[in-house]
């Protein structure tokens, strides 16, 4: 089997027993990136374009260093030498960081995000920065200032968003691991439409320090991988208290790897009545029914559950997130970093820079947020949305008194064709309908592949757990993954070529 087709856990084991070196593993993935990703400065006609910046030299040097330390008998991290694709929302010292926006073009940050420090401390090798919807606003990666990424299962379709570069990189075997961020579903929805696994942890479990803010009270970094075990291993590396983030939970993160294989027999699984009805594609609905049958076959008790305020979550989200974004994005004014469009006065320079540097979706949300926070409308919009948020949180608390986990389809649809929804923002926003409630409540939620629809495109199952119970969500996801036997290798007439497939 080709190195690039192996999971992070397998690669780590092979390196630990000396079967392969970190340098070989990293080289294999860099070669794959060179083969299918195209020129990082712009998308080729059939390229995945998962990366905005490939850090090949640094990755090779890092791998060589890990090999040398292993040879000296030094203790290394569990994922030592495993390549990882990093969403460009994470600040990396000296390495271009754009957040998918032209306004940050050319910026080389003076510091590293906490998660980047943790990855390095765990000897994980960052191979590059991945494409994303500008400032993480979007569900298709078409809002990137640097062109869209493509879905490895069908190159004419989107890989989801906003962590679409990360999901595409993992699905296209460019890296076994990736980091994404999830504000309203941006880890889970791209995972679902690319046949990969994505975990949004509890808000506050992974540090936001050095994560370029979209909506501070909702943003959460999390792991993306092709297996649940890999996601758990990566989560273990990045989770834990960070004194530089005051919203970081001041407790040690519990172990999620050791209990992964524990039985889920007897668990109560709640099916959320409000998430999965109208507007869900038939293929998605069918796959979800199959998933419930699989869960029952694993000895769980599947019951119907209600989150009465879930239908209000999406409108509340689309007030809270843009409000926070309008403030968070005020610092991009052309003065200190990134793009500057010159003009006679400071104000005109600010305006011209922002007009040129921000894309349409970002401008739309800045306008919505500015409006919602303005003195005359604050009570009617931002404050009201905050009340809905509290109600959604209470719904979840009540539901989790009855069940161990809640499930729904991750996304109402499979990957859609590139350009299909570009001019219809409301249709685009509906992609987040099932994922947003977990963000408002701050609870952990994972998307795990539940199968393919009739057209051969992946569908995701969302599993939500009470706050700080990532272990429970991951256990259910792992058991489900084993039972469903999903093969994460992209296939189909329009898929990126998977090595070994031709030979087989």
């Amino acid at each position: 089997m080709e190195l690039i087709a192996r999971s992070a856990a397998e690669l780590a084991r092979l390196m630990a027993i000396g079967e392969v070196s970190a340098r070989e593993v990293v080289d294999a993935h860099l070669a794959r990136i060179a083969e299918v990703d195209g020129d990082p400065t712009g998308p080729g006609p059939r390229d995945i374009h998962a990366f905005l910046h490939v850090t090949a030299d640094a990755a090779r040097a890092h791998a060589a260093d890990i090999d040398a330390r292993r040879a000296r008998g030094e203790a290394l991290g569990d994922l030592a030498g495993v390549p990882l694709a990093l969403k460009d929302v994470f600040v990396t010292r000296g390495v271009p960081t754009t957040c998918g926006s032209r306004i940050l073009e050319g910026w080389r940050p003076p510091y590293d995000a906490t998660v980047v420090e943790r990855l390095r401390a765990a000897d994980v090798v960052v191979v590059g920065k991945t494409n994303m919807d500008e400032f993480a606003m979007g569900s298709s990666t078409e809002n990137s200032g640097y062109g869209p990424s493509r879905n490895p299962w069908d190159l004419d379709r989107v890989p989801g968003g906003s962590s679409g570069g990360s999901s595409a990189a993992v699905a296209a075997l460019q890296a076994p691991l990736a980091l994404g961020t999830d504000t309203g579903g941006s880890i889970r929805q791209p995972a679902a439409v690319t046949g990969t696994v994505g975990l949004k942890p509890t808000y506050g479990v992974v540090s936001r320090y050095g994560l370029i803010a979209f909506a501070s009270s909702l943003d959460q970094a999390g792991p993306m991988a092709r297996t649940v075990e890999d996601a758990a291993l990566l989560h273990q590396v990045i989770a834990g208290h960070d004194p530089r983030d005051s919203t970081s939970i001041p407790e040690p993160a519990p172990d999620v790897v050791a209990p992964l294989r524990d039985s889920i027999r007897g668990m109560r699984v709640g099916v959320v009545r409000e998430l999965g009805g109208e507007g869900y594609e038939p293929g998605v609905a069918a796959s979800f029914r199959d998933a419930l049958a699989t869960l029952e076959s694993l000895g769980t008790d599947v019951v119907e559950c209600s989150l009465p305020h879930a239908p209000l979550a999406l409108p509340a989200y689309y007030l809270i997130a843009p409000s926070e974004a309008s403030s968070n994005l005020a610092r991009y004014d052309g003065v200190r970093y990134g793009l500057r469009v010159d003009a006679p006065t400071t104000e005109e320079m600010n305006a011209a820079t922002r007009a040129h540097g921000f894309g349409a979706e970002v401008k739309r949300r800045i306008m919505i947020g500015t409006y919602a926070l303005s003195a005359g409308y604050f009570d009617a919009y931002y404050l009201q949305a905050g009340k809905v948020r509290t109600l959604v949180l209470r719904d979840f608390q009540a539901a989790f008194d009855e069940v161990d986990v809640l499930v729904s389809p991750t996304s109402p649809n499979v990957a859609f064709p590139i350009a299909e929804k570009v001019d219809d923002p409301l249709a685009m926003y509906l992609n987040d309908i099932a994922t947003v409630p977990a963000n408002l409540a701050g609870i952990p939620a994972i998307s795990v592949p539940s199968g393919l629809d009739d057209a051969g495109l992946p569908v995701g199952l969302q599993i939500m757990a009470p706050a700080l119970r990532e272990d429970v969500a991951l256990r259910v996801a792992w058991a489900f993954e084993q039972a469903s036997g999903f093969d994460p290798m992209p296939r189909g007439a329009n898929a990126v070529a998977v090595p070994g497939e031709v030979a087989a």
Partner: protein, 487 residues
């Protein structure tokens, strides 16, 4: 104040806290460091950087609130105040909005024996901005060829203390700021130096006619005067602005709400900008920061640990027999610790107060020094007061010794010993000298015998000269009188 008019003043005082690190990051706060050397991703608003509230700053804020008799909010938040300002890298300021940490207190003043109580609306926490320097274009942002910014001050913790419009005279406004300054210094939370900008004040001034029946007229339209950098400027600016407004109103004009600037040299206020529309700061709770929770036990503990405040200290001094004005000077010059140490060492309270408010203040002023900058201690002062009291030193010699204490930091007794300058109060030692002076000046002695006793002064002067000022003048005077007039 022009008859028939009443002045209404409210103050907004900004106090820069002297915490070791900034409000939301670990950067140092030392004054005068080279530009942009006390900065990090947080205080320069780099993408991805996050604020974490400084617990020491929150504690300082609560202590000031308690010293001003405020209620401490059990729970409060930091808000974002959004605007595009060139001196704030994030383009919003982290401040407090609907619920400040401290609210509803008061400050008691005693201006010229006229006690008054000024309400404190709130004391809230916020972060300071950077400092800008515009080159070209008359020093203003618009039209400047270059605008330089120093972010060292960006993020330094700032308290905004807002009074109620209870102040009724320019002098009272000055007294308010001085009293607040004294409290802040006593608490040790800021050096409160107006000239260095660690205490800055804006003042709102309006006037209203005094109704014939004594009832209050509604408040008049107010004007705000920004950035006054001394209490002297504050008092002058308020007085000028009140007269300006009265003049406008008496000439049938109208006061327009606006922000004005005090021109110290010309002694007048002038228009800075009109407040035509209220800026919409789009305040909302900062989602990067968690709420500030003040437990009752914590507040109780802070309250119990407050030092003696200026008003209490003044009361105690007056109780001990010190003159009221002197007590005020001792407290406001930060001389209380010296006073207490001196008195604890058995120096007389009143004499100590005389020395502190007279010679010691003169020394400090002459040297441009704060008490803490000197090597002088309260023990030194006490020793000096006792040396003068027991007539080892004359007042004049005492002054010399004090100067030497400031100069060398040595104890007064040691200076006296080393320099041999103790007063000569030994009658036997002076006798021969007095005899000789009388013999040398027969004419003067004759005049004195004829009844012109004032002439004794000339002979005293000669004795003092011969002893280089060391002779006890009272004793010399008495000896001369005895010898010449017989006794």
């Amino acid at each position: 104040m022009t008859d028939g008019w009443e002045l209404v003043v409210g103050l907004e005082v900004h106090v820069e806290l002297s915490t070791a690190s900034k409000m939301f990051c670990g950067c140092a706060t030392d004054f005068g460091a080279p530009p942009n050397t006390r900065v990090c991703p947080v205080c320069t608003g780099q993408p991805g950087a996050l604020p974490v509230a400084n617990a020491a700053a929150v504690e300082s804020a609560a202590r000031l609130g308690l010293a001003l008799n405020c209620a401490i909010a059990p729970t409060c938040w930091f808000h974002r105040k959004n605007y595009f300002y060139p001196d704030l890298a994030k383009n919003y300021q982290i401040s407090q909005y609907d619920i400040p940490l401290c609210s509803d207190g008061w400050l008691d003043l005693d201006t010229d024996g006229d006690p008054s109580r000024i309400g404190i609306e709130r004391v809230h926490m916020e972060e300071d901005t950077g400092k800008m320097e515009h080159r070209g274009g008359g020093g203003r942002l618009h039209g400047a060829e270059q605008s330089l910014i120093d972010y060292n001050r960006c993020g330094i913790p700032l308290l905004e203390c807002v009074s109620r419009p209870d102040i009724r005279s320019p002098e009272q406004a000055g007294a308010f700021v001085r009293e607040l300054q004294g409290i802040v210094r006593t608490l040790g939370i800021s050096d409160a130096k107006m000239e260095e900008g660690s205490l800055r004040c804006d003042v709102n001034v309006s006037v209203r006619r005094v109704a014939a029946d004594g009832t209050s007229e509604p408040y008049g339209t107010r004007c705000e005067i920004k950035n006054l950098n001394s209490t002297r400027s504050l008092v002058r600016a308020v007085a000028y602005e009140a007269e300006r407004q009265i003049h406008v109103l008496e000439s049938a004009g109208q006061i327009v709400q606006e922000t004005r600037h005090w021109d110290e040299e010309r002694g007048l206020t002038e228009l800075l900008r009109r407040k035509e529309a209220v800026t919409d700061y789009r305040y909302f709770p900062d989602p990067d920061l968690v709420e500030v929770v003040s437990s009752a036990a914590w507040v109780e503990q802070l309250h119990a640990s407050l030092p003696e405040l200026p008003a209490t200290a003044r009361g105690r001094l007056v109780e001990a027999g010190v003159d009221g004005a002197q007590a005020a000077t001792i407290v406001s010059y930060g001389l209380l610790a010296w006073y207490d140490e001196a008195v604890a060492g058995d120096a007389d309270p009143r004499t100590t107060a005389n020395w502190l408010t007279g010679e010691v203040v003169a020394q400090l002023n002459e040297r441009g020094a704060e008490p803490a900058d000197t090597a002088v201690t309260g023990h030194h002062i006490g020793e000096l007061v006792r040396l003068v009291d027991d007539e080892t030193l004359s007042h004049k010699l005492g002054r010399e010794v004090l100067d030497a204490v400031f100069e060398t930091g040595a104890a007064p007794t040691r200076i006296v010993e080393e320099r041999g300058i103790q007063q000569i109060s030994d009658e036997a030692a002076l006798d021969a000298l007095v005899e000789r002076i009388i013999a040398d000046n027969p004419d003067t002695a004759a005049t004195i015998r004829e009844g012109n006793t004032k002439a004794i002064g000339a002979l005293v002067g000669q004795v003092m000269r011969e002893t280089r000022g060391r002779a006890n003048p009272q004793l010399v005077n008495q000896l001369l009188a005895d010898r010449i007039l017989g006794g």
